[in-house]
């Protein structure tokens, strides 16, 4: 049996999410082939070919894949699907967009966001926003899986290249078109790969006050996140959102500021190594999961924190 893993990249760099998720393939017997797509991506291809554990890298050099459309990528994987028993990708917005489409084309159930592999057909995943953990066994002949990156350590980049095979993108369906992207510009690390995250909730009161978090983040080299309440209130864009319906993160240090700790937020951050909560309400549920709690007015202590770092 052979596994196909879809590797994401941007700006010449391999996705940290993919490097973590690909580690899951080490627990599946047989060869692991990587799939990387896009034109003029030589540096990403060279790096991907050195990912430890990969036995072959399939590269599709085609303008169709300068931006990933689910319709095209699904067709591309379908073209080579006979050779594979397992199909994996990181549970990024791209992985989540593409893999179920592939699973349906292969007439199999997908197992979403696995956090562990128990056996060839048995996987562990969270349900109900992390309030329950299910062990599931599939009877489908082909397995389509997305992998929660925070559950795995990033694969190492070795020194020797594996075999690289180029294939063409055939039978691309022309039913959708990429128009554009507006990526949030930031000098700071991405939420999902940051070692430290400082997040604000409804207690921040407005978007301007997130500057207080920005200043602390600057000192710590941290990413800035937010609770759903802060996103719903319009303080910050949705890509800041940590939680069940946003991003699931597990940094070394997570600082929750003015966040009460709704179940849906805890689901997205409770696997963080160290959790700090700053909230003026000492009854806030966030304190139940925090290693260090500070009951205080955030507007008073955030500038102090910035000074102390």
């Amino acid at each position: 049996m052979t596994t196909l893993f879809f590797i994401e990249h941007a700006n010449g760099q391999l996705s940290d999410q993919s490097l973590k998720a690909i580690t899951a393939t080490s627990q599946i017997d047989g060869d692991v082939h990587g799939l990387i797509v896009g034109s003029n991506i030589d540096s990403a291809v060279a790096e991907a070919s050195k990912i430890e554990g990969l036995t072959k890298l399939i590269h599709v050099d085609d303008d169709n894949f300068n931006n990933i459309m689910a319709e095209n990528l699904t067709q591309l994987i379908l073209n080579i699907s006979e050779d594979y028993e397992y199909f994996l990708a990181a549970a990024t917005t791209t992985g989540k967009n593409v893999m179920p489409r592939l699973a349906a084309k292969l007439d199999v159930s997908q197992i979403s966001e696995i956090i562990a592999i128990e056996g060839p057909d048995t996987f562990i995943r969270t349900i109900y926003a992390g309030n329950a953990i299910a062990t599931v066994q599939t009877s489908d002949p082909k397995k389509v899986l997305t992998v929660r990156p925070t559950a795995f350590k990033a694969a190492a980049i070795g020194s020797s290249e594996c075999e690289i095979s180029k294939i063409d993108a055939e039978n691309m369906p022309s039913i959708s078109e990429f128009i554009g992207e507006e990526l949030t510009k930031s000098d700071r690390p991405e939420l999902t790969s940051a070692k430290t995250i400082i997040s604000g909730g409804r207690g921040m009161q407005n978007g301007e006050n997130f500057e207080l978090l920005d200043k602390v983040a600057e000192k710590l080299g941290a990413a800035v996140g937010a609770s759903r309440a802060a996103v719903d209130a319009g303080f910050v864009p949705n890509d800041y959102q940590v939680g069940q319906t946003g991003k699931v993160v597990a940094p070394e240090l997570y600082i929750a500021v003015g966040i009460s700790g709704a179940i849906q937020h805890l689901a997205g951050m409770k696997d963080s190594k160290v959790i700090v909560a700053i909230n003026k309400d000492e009854e806030a549920p966030i304190f139940d999961v925090a290693d260090y709690g500070l009951v205080a007015d955030l507007f008073q202590v955030l500038p102090e924190l910035e000074q102390a770092l």
């Binding site: 966001e113 329950a132 599931v136 890509d239 290693d291 500070l294």
Partner: protein
């Protein structure tokens, strides 16, 4: 144009989840149930498109046990025109739901299917994409904005680094993300009116779909509990602990 909106009945998002002691699943007996929040957003968006003159009819579909009728009634009270209830007691998986929906699409020929991006029980995030595959329609997942322009629909999508915009040939499948809209509450007169709106009752067999599960749930357990730590008095104590005790800064 018709819009098809699949709606799922789930445990209310504000209810605390209890795992059954025999590890067979999550307790759903005597627990408050509601429409999945992402499905509510889908219903709302369909109604707004109808109000804007872009759609004529909204069909709400729910697949599951008898109580799913209530979820369809909620959609009808919000403003959907009629319902289809596919009755089954089986624990139905996204692939089977997508197959039934694809048959309904064949019969109803909707110009758009708008569904929630995921249900908050199974957290699968699959059905919309699977339906798109089975019907060979394009997909606009995790939508935060939808604009119809004659035979195409422009969808702004919430992606990891920000926003992406795609243009899809219609008919198309769209799945909703949080910021697409804020769903309305049904007014009392509309709840009364909804009681008179028609709901067709069907079964998976009517569509020739075998809904036998392929994925067997071996066990469901509670996640490990995280213990509360200590309270610190001030910032200098916090910084000292983070440096010397936790070693994370």
């Amino acid at each position: 144009m018709k819009i098809l909106v699949p709606v799922k009945r789930v445990i209310d998002p504000y209810v605390n989840i209890r795992v059954k002691s025999d590890q067979s699943g999550v307790e759903t007996e005597n627990v408050k149930m509601s429409m999945n929040p992402f499905c509510e957003i889908a219903v709302e968006e369909a109604i707004r498109l109808k109000e804007a003159g872009k759609a004529e009819e909204i069909i709400a579909v729910s697949i599951g046990n008898q109580s799913c009728q209530e979820t369809i009634r909620t959609a009808l009270a919000m403003g959907a025109d009629r319902g289809i209830h596919v009755l089954t007691e089986e624990k139905i998986e996204p692939i089977s739901i997508a197959k039934i929906l694809s048959k309904i699409c064949e019969q109803e020929s909707p110009g758009l299917v708008i569904s929630g991006k995921q249900a908050i029980d199974g957290d699968n995030n699959q059905t919309g994409q699977m339906l798109a595959a089975l019907t060979d329609m394009p997909q606009g997942t995790f939508a935060s904005k939808i604009e119809i322009d004659s035979d195409k629909v422009k969808v702004t999508r919430e992606i990891d680094g920000g926003l992406q915009t795609v243009s899809l040939n219609m008919p198309a499948i769209i799945t909703t993300d949080l910021r697409l809209n804020e769903p309305r509450y049904a007014s009392l007169p509309n709840i009364m009116k909804a009681k008179k709106k028609p709901i067709d009752q069907k079964s998976p067999e009517d569509y020739g779909i075998d809904v036998t599960p392929r994925v067997n749930i071996l066990k469901v357990i509670e996640p490990p509990k995280r213990e509360a730590g200590i309270k610190v008095e001030n910032i200098s104590e916090l910084v000292e602990k983070l440096k010397n005790e936790a070693g994370v800064i």
